[in-house]
């Protein structure tokens, strides 16, 4: 019971719905569990749904942020295994967006018995170009991102809320979201950006035995189609579904296309 409470606090866990399987929804770099606002309620009608924030993001417990532990994706993957242990009921389907798809991969490889399937939205095992492999970015691009992040978190230390939160036209949405969505300590944001965009999980992919759905957007700067195709080639048991979408967040901009792809995958894998 104590453990449940402490994990709940650490990762700001909320459990909704009930059903024969548990869906874990893991947000990617930049935001928090609010990202699942359009998709999660659909699944909560049929399944048990666990929403949470990665430590350092959203309304997670910032005092749990350990710079050493979270200096690699493995630190986050350890948390996932703990969360699945604690909050999973029946078979677990892990839905990871962006970097969380790779965190889910590492967790699955470390504890394969705990996962029934992986759904990856806009995944990339390696963002930096490396020889024949085209991740889409160079080291200089990542430095440029760190610079942009720095420019946009100037007000953090004095006001504890970055300026990008403002929602002058929709105050009723603004207040709620301002308090959590995209809120990150700038130092944590920078480290997470580095850990995310300098990660290379390619060697782990072959060990991921769980059936995997790759949800690939037609136009996504962060995870280009070639990366989706690479994943599909290397993963032992994957389905590649291309969603007609511009941007890195099809679950926000094309939620029903995502839901259709996931449902088709679940039927095919008899989950």
């Amino acid at each position: 019971m104590l453990r449940t409470v402490s994990l709940q606090r650490r990762n700001n866990v909320s459990v909704i719905g009930d059903g024969p399987a548990t869906f874990f929804f893991a947000h990617g770099f930049g935001c928090d569990q609010n990202m699942w606002r359009f998709l999660a309620p659909e699944y909560a009608k049929r399944y048990r749904v666990v929403l949470f924030d990665l430590v350092g993001g959203g309304a997670s417990d910032l005092s749990a942020y350990d710079r050493d532990k979270y200096d690699s994706l493995h630190g986050y993957a350890r948390d996932i295994v703990e969360l699945v242990d604690e909050f999973g009921k029946g078979p677990t389907v892990f839905v990871g967006h962006s970097v969380s798809a790779m965190i889910g991969t590492l967790a699955n490889v470390a504890a394969p018995e705990k996962f029934a399937a992986q759904v990856m939205i806009g995944p990339s095992p390696c963002y930096i170009n490396d020889g024949d492999y085209i991740g889409g970015f160079t080291r200089a691009d990542i430095d440029s991102l760190l610079h942009t992040l720095e420019s946009n978190f100037l007000g953090w230390s004095s006001t504890m809320a970055p300026a990008i939160m403002g929602a002058p036209e929709q105050p009723e949405l603004g207040v709620e979201l301002t308090n959590s969505f995209c809120r990150t300590d700038p130092e944590i944001a920078k480290q997470f950006a580095r850990v995310t965009f300098l990660s290379d999980v390619r060697t782990e992919l072959a060990a991921l035995a769980a059936p995997t759905l790759l949800l690939q957007s037609t136009e996504d700067l962060i995870a280009p189609v070639t990366v989706g195709e690479y994943m599909h080639r290397v993963l032992p048991r994957s389905t590649l579904t291309i969603v007609d979408n511009v941007g890195h967040c099809p679950h926000l901009s094309s939620p029903s296309a995502c839901a259709n792809a996931i449902d088709a995958f679940l039927v095919r894998e008899q989950l």
Binding site: A140, S151, N152, I164, G166, A167, F181, F197, D220, I222
Partner: protein, 382 residues
Amino acid sequence: MRSTHSSFENSSNPLPDVEIDLDTLPCGLLRTLDDGTICRANRTFTRWVSLTPELLVGRRFQELLTMGGKIFHHTHWAPLLRMQGSISEVKLEVVAGGEVIPMVINAIRHDDGAGTIVHDIAAYVARDRDRYEQELLRSRARLEGLIAELEQMHEASNDRAAFAEQMMGIVSHDLRNPLNAIQLGADLLAVQGLDEPQQRVVHRIASSTKRAAALIDDLLDFTSARVGSGISVAIAPIQLHELIAEGLDELRMVYPNRTLVHRRAGTSETNGDARRLVQLVGNLISNAVVYGAPDTPITVTTSVQGISSITAHNHGSKIPDALRASMFDPMTRGTEAGAPRSVGLGLFIVREIARAHGGAATVTSSDEGTSFRIEWPARAER
């Protein structure tokens, strides 16, 4: 781009109902589709990015950004706009003809009235603000670096201090054992019926051993005062005159060739650490013997009159002012020839003992001689 302003018609202080030329407004205005495709741009914006409207329309807004800005657009901007409907004060860099222009940007996402979701974006160039912010960020980074360096240095110096203290403690302790053995041997020899010259040798061995032991005590005190917790005192009620009289009796045996005079003033009853005060007087006398004029008396005055004090006076030439200022610092020594008793810790320990009593040590010097004085509150408490 033109717009008729009418929405403030009913407010108490309405703007004049005139046409506003959006093209000449002093901020860049864009309208894009939900995927970022630019539909319209005002002339201010096209001028800033050195592109004609024809070249701009049809491109995606995010394509104008630096790579960092593009990633930020994907990971922060787009989801925020989608979830909140608006986003404000985002600072992004627009690349225009090889030049990078920092802009502060607000945007709203809404239905254009005909069922199409559009984004309206307002931007202004923020070069000076950007420069200033970059400077702030650089100074912060520099400051953080300096603090980290300082912390490292602090840690290193703490380590060194702890090591020095341990080292000193170990060395001093280990030196005591062989010294005790020598002392014991000398004492045994002294009662063996030796002839006169042999007696003298044994006596010299004994007194040298005592000096070495005293030196070790000084080193230990110095170490704990400098790098440790400070010199420790156990304050208790004492009879100052009697205590120092006894101490002087012992010192007369150590310095048989010097005259030690004791003067008393006021009452005798006060508080202090008896052992430390005797040690202090020993240090003052030893200092006077080495640096004072030979064949002249050394006068120790003890006094309890409101405050308690011990003064040691010796004759001799005046101490230069420059030296007087640092007399109580460790490793400071008189320049006159002589046989210094220690490595220059004696007066430092005097000052530390005075401080541990809540008091102070001072020195005055003239052609009539030099006086060291320590005084402390009559009811000294730590």
